[in-house]
Symmetry: C2
Subunit: 238 residues, 2 copies
């Protein structure tokens, strides 16, 4: 293994607000940071197309004291589309299912992403894996929960006979605090980068501009982002 693997991190980076914040968090903590994205036929592929501008513009924003941005790995996870029949990969209506989960639910999606990321980390001698899952703004995905992530750390370390640490810096904070974390890390310039370059909207809407970013403004992901931004700004004024 690489002698400085403890200083190496792999960030699951989708091009959304949460994973962009996690990427900046990792660049402030680790000497060498690589990224991985999963291409699985997301609607319009908007998120994936946001990745390159963020990767280009984020490091210059962070001042001099941050790690080096290394390789970006894009993995074909099209198998998810074959296994799912959900709104995230089709133009179906976003709605809640009878079981209470959003219809974008792909069972075990984050378990799959973590497993693929761990295989890359293993080969790249990277010890730290960073992902932007969150229990606070709970959206019905059990594979985002802290219990699941910790069970996966155990399973991956046993199954690969290694010593990964899974970091989830957003697990216990809400969306307003995610905006605040971004501000602490990169100031107003980073807030503006998130507003302009990251994407969250389930519908892939990039033409409608709001103060908090681009998106339809009504899907659950837009609502969450918008309310978090409003709370973040009002918190600063009070």
């Amino acid at each position: 293994m690489h002698h400085n693997e403890q200083q190496r991190a792999l960030v699951l980076f989708s091009g959304g607000q949460d994973s962009t914040t996690c990427l900046a968090w990792a660049l402030k903590r680790f000497a060498h940071v690589e990224t991985v994205g999963f291409d699985y036929g997301q609607r319009h592929n908007v998120e994936m197309s946001c990745r390159a501008p963020v990767l280009e513009k984020l490091p210059p924003l962070l001042g001099n004291d941050h790690g080096a941005l290394g390789d970006d790995h894009v993995v074909d996870a099209g198998v998810l589309g074959a296994l799912s029949d959900t709104a995230l990969t089709r133009d179906a209506e976003i709605r809640m299912t009878d079981s209470g989960s959003p219809s974008t639910f792909v069972p075990g999606r984050n378990i799959l992403f973590l497993t693929l990321a761990a295989a890359i980390a293993y080969r790249r001698s990277i010890r730290n894996i960073v992902l932007g899952v969150c229990e606070t703004d709970y959206s019905g995905y059990p594979d985002c929960r802290d219990d699941t992530i910790k069970a996966m750390q155990a399973a991956l370390n046993l199954g690969m006979e290694t010593d990964f640490v899974l970091h989830t810096p957003l697990m216990w904070i809400d969306k307003a605090d995610t905006w605040s974390m971004a501000e602490e890390i990169g100031g107003e310039a980073f807030i503006n980068l998130i507003r302009e370059e990251t994407h969250t909207c389930y519908l892939g809407e990039r033409d409608i501009r709001h103060e908090w970013g681009y998106g339809c403004g009504t899907c659950p992901a837009c609502e969450l982002r918008m309310r978090g931004y409003e709370k973040f700004r009002s918190g600063k004024q009070s």
Copy 2:
């Protein structure tokens, strides 16, 4: 969920000796049995081409008291090839690496297979997942170990909020006992089916016939199968 999900099983079925034995084991235990295979650019695709004849010929061998064979799912797991650089997906020499694992090692391969299988089981209302991993004929794969499988059961049940049972009927027996288990389940006719129709050889050799099956006869997988068969037969004579 399906009312009889407890009587439904999904077998990870590759077309090899172990998973064929597990399939028969499952058909004797569960009312409804589905199968899943992973296509990830295995050499010559020999194992995958063994699946159909086994699926056709096995149920008639088992007498009247067995479950119904349901859908067979073939999943494109080509992403593994993209993540690995190992002998199983290339025509490189089979050898042991410096770390002591066979060079066919793909980190976390069984974790990935289990995750994909669980996503199918979830959608098919299947509670039982059966796989032919084994600790006894230990071949250096940490993702075949009992600890890993049990950690994965916890992670999958947390991450999918469900109640899977992972069955590993071969975990604590050796290859001779795997042959014995097959004989107990389906008699000499099943032994012959395994010899004629299943494939184990790492090199994809199907032209050289031995008493125990087809294969190069010298790769680690052939050696294990051959020695197990010899022990099984000599145990019966003594």
